[in-house]
């Protein structure tokens, strides 16, 4: 296997152990996160290998991967900027923040990532932070009450190699690192 080998295979085995042996297929979502944490997005190789691990077809794995927005099937920026534009955020100015995210990162509307490969911008359908709208996540870490100016600062910081401190919880310095946490294979940080 190209993706799930060595320590990654050991992580995959720990994921498989969470679910009853007769229901291995339940592991497909964490395995997709794990693959994404290795390669930066879910590759064809990863889809096939996950199918082999679970005893299902590549098509069945792809059916799941393509259903959920947090799995990315095409090359993705080092950092993923998610901007909620749903009603609670829209009412507090999210559309201007979404525009600023594109301008500052160089991601053209409709494009997957910026030319330098640093950024992907994603329009979100409610991040569940309506009390601090407009809500933004960078690599799934929250930033509250974001203005267009603040968005430009955040992007400039990332370009300079800084990891912005999130409103809550630890910072993940890349989409890959956040995907690894989402796979649930990281040591749990103290509360």
């Amino acid at each position: 296997m190209a993706v799930f080998e060595g320590p990654v295979r050991a992580d995959a085995d720990s994921i498989l152990a969470r679910y009853p042996e007769a229901h291995r297929r339940s592991a497909v979502m964490p395995l997709l996160y794990l693959a994404q944490s290795v390669e930066g997005f879910v590759t064809r190789d990863a889809l096939r290998e996950i199918g082999m691990l679970l005893g299902i077809t590549t098509a069945e794995v792809e059916a799941v991967a393509s259903f959920y927005t947090m799995f990315r099937l095409r090359p993705t920026g080092t950092h993923v900027i998610s901007v909620c534009t749903n009603l609670a955020c829209k009412l507090r100015g999210a559309e201007a923040v979404f525009e600023a995210a594109h301008e500052a990162s160089g991601v053209v509307h409709g494009a997957e990532l910026s030319d330098d490969g640093l950024f992907t911008v994603h329009e979100e359908e409610c991040l569940g932070v309506c009390d601090f709208a407009p809500a933004v996540q960078i690599n799934f870490c929250n930033h509250d009450n974001v203005t267009p100016e603040r968005m430009r600062e955040l992007v400039a910081g990332l370009r300079a190699g800084e990891v912005p401190s999130p409103a809550r919880g630890p910072a993940f310095d890349s989409f890959k690192a956040a995907s690894r946490a989402l796979a649930g294979v990281e040591e749990v940080a103290s509360a």
């Binding site: 959920y68 927005t69 569940g128 009390d131 709208a133 799934f140 649930g184």
Partner: protein, 432 residues
Amino acid sequence: MSLRFEPRLTRDWDDPSVIGLEGYIAKGGYRGLAKALAMSDADIVEVVKSSGLRGRGGAGFPAGMKWGFVPRDTGKPTYVVVNFDESEPGTCNNRELVERDPHRLLEGMAIAALAIGCETAYIYVRGEYLWQSLVLERAIADAYAAGHLGPDVQGSGKRIDAVLHRGAGAYICGEETALLNSLEGLRGQPRLRPPFPAVEGLFASPTVINNVETLMNVPDILVRGADWFRELGTEKSPGTKMVTVSGKVERPGNFEVPLGTPFRVVLDELAGGVLGGRALKAWTPGGSSTPMLTEGHLEVGLDYESLAEAGSMLGTAAIMVMDDTDCVVDCATRMVRFYAHESCGKCTPCREGSWWATRVLERLEDGQGEAADLPIMHDLGTNLLFRAFCALADGTASVINSSLQHFPDEYEAHVRLGRCPLKVEHLEEVPA
């Protein structure tokens, strides 16, 4: 009316130590579980039934009755599934409840597990709640280490395991049968019912699926009793409810209120009134899928019955406030676009109807609508309601039908003027 009551779900929010196990224990944590371990499973179900606790995730189904539906003689394992997929636009109280008090959720979950004889509980967390899922992972590890979860819960010989499962960005997974499919490693599409999950749920076994807030009410019900629980709220909607207030208010946030509290009290006393002192135009009582109401509904009580009577629903009690500068057609367009994006594609009325409604709303808002578009909207609203497997399409219909019902003049103005009457840049281009 002034709001005076003893907080329940939020009572320890001023103490950051309760996020840890020691702090939670110091506040009396895991005593409800100890009490439940000394009771029969039927008695646990009975006390929750007597409390009148209803599901806080939207449907409002009585929790104890749900637990009582689980058959115990099938020879299959039973499962508790915690629905922490909180994705209804405008809703974020489960997030803050878990951030501030994660062990209360684990305790409620463990009591539910005892009530139905379950040895493995699954917690389905929406993927975007990465920090909150890490908080829960820590809490689970600590609860295991202290023996409140695991093979021998509080020395009782009973086993309760907890498995955390992350979603990956799909609103529909908050629908309980879509959630089960997602947890089984399938696309998150809803299942036909019957069979209901209580009979055939996760892994085709009897399953109880409860919302986070529902379960977090349970430990105190065990400790303090059903009568205590009923001291707040109304006869048919007992207890308190977390409400999220967002949009055009001075102080957006999550607030706990006794069920039945009038909307005006929440808006003015807790959320500080409409932003900048402007006029209230429209509000959703329970997230974007519940029919919007107007300033004519300020005195409506926030409970299941009163909101149904007003033509809407309590839903997740997510109040999004729009003021007199907000265009209802523009807001409806954004909400319907959400439903078009999140439709799983299984049912034709939802898949095609939400897409079509988005196109019609966009052209109305852009000033390119025609008089014939209004009957099309009515037609779409009618044909989306109760025509699909799950309630996602009903949410789309709620937005369309309620905005047309309460703001017909605003729709007509878009057609008549050939522009949005509330957009400033349009006013500059086209003299009124």
